[in-house]
C-alpha cells in the first residue's frame, strides 16, 4: 500500500512539473523572443532603478561595521531585494486566483488539488531561479560572493521558500472563496514595494520605524538574503530563527485551512 502511495506521489510530482512546464511554454510560445522574456524584465527593471535611485538619487549601501568608508553601490543590494519582491508578487498574485483560473483542472481532472498549487510554485520557481542566477552572476562579477555568504544564502533561501509556499497555499485556499483577497493583495504589494527597504538601505529608516520593519515579512526576507549575498555575512540569527518558526506556523495554518476546504473548492470556483 505504501508503495502505491509513494508511486502516486511521484507521479503527481512529475505531473506538477509537467503542468508548470506547459504553463511556461504556453506563455512564451507566441512571442518571438521566447525564453528571453524570463531574463528581460528583471534586467530592465534593474537598469531603470539603478539609473533613477542609484545615479540620480545617489542611494548606496555601505558595508556594516566598516565605518562609512566602503560602499557596495546600488545595483547588487537593490537587485537582491527586487528579485525577492518580483518572486513574492508573482506567487501571491497567481495564488489568489489559482483555482479559479485553473477551473478545468479543478472540476474535470483526476489529480489532487495540491498538484495545481505545486505546479504554480514550480513555475514561479523557474522565474525565481533565473533571477537568482542573475543575482549570483552580478555578485560574482562584483566579487562580493563568499563561501560563508553562499552557505547562509542557501539557509535563508530555504526559509523563504517555506514562507512563500505556505503563503501561496493559504492564499490559494482562501482566494477561491473570497474575491477581495486578490484585489487587496495587489494593492498591498504595491505598498510593500516602498514600505520595504528594497530601493533604500534599512539604515536610512529612522530608528523608531526600523524595529517595525521586522513585522514586514518581505523586509525580513530581503534582509535575510541581502546580508549573505552582498556582505558575505551571517544574517541576524534571532531574525532567522523567528522567521523560520513563523514560516512553520504559517505552513501549519495553511495546511489546516487547505485540508478543510479542499473538498468544497470545486463547488465554488
Amino acid at each position: 500500500m505504501l508503495k502505491i502511495i509513494n508511486s502516486q506521489f511521484r507521479e503527481n510530482l512529475r505531473l506538477a512539473w509537467d503542468l508548470a512546464h506547459r504553463d511556461l511554454s504556453a506563455k512564451y510560445r507566441r512571442s518571438a523572443l521566447g525564453w528571453l522574456w524570463l531574463i528581460l524584465p528583471p534586467v530592465c527593471l534593474l537598469a531603470i532603478y539603478s539609473l533613477v535611485f542609484g545615479r540620480i538619487f545617489g542611494i548606496e549601501w555601505k558595508i556594516p561595521h566598516h565605518g562609512d568608508t566602503e560602499s557596495v553601490g546600488f545595483a547588487l543590494p537593490f537587485f537582491v531585494g527586487l528579485s525577492i519582491y518580483l518572486t513574492l508578487s508573482d506567487v501571491v498574485n497567481s495564488s489568489t486566483v489559482l483555482f479559479a483560473s485553473k477551473r478545468t483542472y479543478v472540476v474535470k481532472s483526476p489529480f489532487p488539488l495540491w498538484v495545481i498549487w505545486l505546479a504554480n510554485l514550480l513555475r514561479a520557481a523557474v522565474h525565481a531561479g533565473v533571477s537568482l542566477l542573475l543575482v549570483l552572476t552580478l555578485a560574482l562579477f562584483q566579487q562580493r560572493l563568499t563561501i560563508v555568504g553562499f552557505g547562509w544564502m542557501v539557509i535563508g533561501l530555504l526559509c523563504c521558500c517555506a514562507f512563500v509556499s505556505s503563503l501561496s497555499l493559504l492564499l490559494a485556499a482562501l482566494g477561491a472563496f473570497i474575491g477581495d483577497i486578490s484585489e487587496a493583495t495587489r494593492l498591498l504589494l504595491r505598498v510593500l514595494f516602498y514600505a520595504t527597504p528594497i530601493t533604500y538601505p534599512l539604515i536610512m529608516v529612522p530608528l523608531p520605524y526600523r524595529e517595525w520593519m521586522w513585522f514586514n515579512p518581505l523586509a525580513t526576507m530581503v534582509e535575510l538574503l541581502r546580508d549573505p549575498i552582498v556582505f558575505g555575512q551571517m544574517p541576524p540569527l534571532q531574525v532567522l530563527v523567528i522567521f523560520f518558526f513563523s514560516s512553520l506556523l504559517l505552513f501549519g495554518v495553511a495546511l489546516w485551512v487547505f485540508r478543510r476546504v479542499k473538498g468544497v473548492i470545486s463547488d465554488v470556483v
Partner: protein, 401 residues
Amino acid sequence: MSSDLILRATEISKIYSGTTHPLATLRHALFGTASDVTDQYPVLEGINLEIRHGETVGIMGSNGAGKTTLLGILGNVIEQTEGKVERFGRIATLLGLTAGFNPNFSGRENAYLFCSIQGLSRRQTDERIADIEDFADLGRYFELPLRTYSSGMQARLAFASAVHVAADLIIIDETLAVGDANFRMKCYDRIRQMKQDGQTFILVSHNQNMVANYCTRGIVLDGGKKVFDGLTFEAVEVYKRIRTEAMGDSDLKGKVLKLASNKRSLDSAAVMKDFRLTERNIDGETFGVVSALLSVQKDIEHLSVNFGISNQHGIVVCAWDGARSVLKIPKLNSGDERNLEMIFSKRLLPGRYFISCIINELIGDVTKPQSIYQNFLSFEIVGSDVMSGIADLNMSLVMHE
C-alpha cells in the same frame, strides 16, 4: 475483498454548497458551523457501487440526476461529502470533452498533456502517440493548434487519447455523442474490441440504445439516488419509465389515462377536458379513440384540432393537421361545448406511444394556438417481437417450392 474488484463506493453523498454565499461555505468548511449555510444542494445520496474487472457499466439518468457528479467522485475529480471510495487500480477519467486541453498547443502536445494528466509518463506516452494519432485521424491538423479545431475534431482527439491511456477502468461521460457518424462508429468498435480484451468501462449516456448494446450492467440514477442496478435490459426499462413519469404519466399499463401536467394553455379561448382513450372496432380493425370535451370560452369563427402520435423516442408516427383537412369546426360561441373523437388505427408494433394535440383558432390562413396538450396520454402496445420498428406492416415470409 474480492480480487477482481476495481472500485468500491460506500454510501457516498454529495452536497454542493451554493455559490451565492462563498463566505458561509468557507466558514462551514473551516469550523463546521452549519446553521447559516442555507443554499446547499444535495445531488447524491447514499450511493453504493462496486465495479469489477471486465464489466462495462452504463449509468443512465435524466438531466440533473447526478450522473456527472457520481462519475466525478468515482474518478477522484470531485470530493464526496460523505462516504468513501476505494480504488484498486488506475482510473482514467474523461469528464467533459477537452478537460485540460490548451487551445494554443497542437493536437500532439495536447495528447501528451492529456496522458500526463491521466498519469502516464512521457516515455509511456511516446509508445502510444502513434496509435493516438492514427485513431484520431486528424491528418495534418494533428500538428496544428487546437484552436483551429472544430468541436468534433476536439472530441476525436480527446476520445483517441482516452482509449489509449491503458487504465484498469475508463470513465467516459457523454463524449461519444459528438463527432460524425463514421467516427462514432469507430469509437463504438474500439469500445467493443477493448471490452473483448477485458477492459472495464463506465459509460454515461442519455442514449439508451448505446447502453443496451454495449453495457453488461446498467445503473439508473434518479434524483441523486440509485434506483436500479442490474441487467442492462431492465435498467433501460426503468430509465424509460422514469422519463415517461417525468412527462406526467405514472401508469405503465396504458389504457388508463391521465391528464398531463404539461398542458399549456395559451390564449385558452378553447380548452379540452375529460380525455378518455378507448378502443373501437370498425370493419374488423381495431382503432384507438381519444374522446374529449371541447369547451369554448369566447366566440371563435373557425377552429381546428391537430393531433399526433409519437413513440418513446420522440419520433412522430403520424400527425393530423386539422387546418389542412376539410373537417373544420364551424363557428362556436362562448360557452359552447362539443364532444370530439380523435380516431386512429392501431397498426403499431409493441412499444409505448404518446398522444399530443393542439387546438388552433383559424384566422384567414393563420393558425393561432389556443391550447397545447403535449404527450398527455400514453398507451402501450403489446404483442410478439417478431417485427420491430414502429408500423405494423404485416410482414411475413413466404417460401415457394
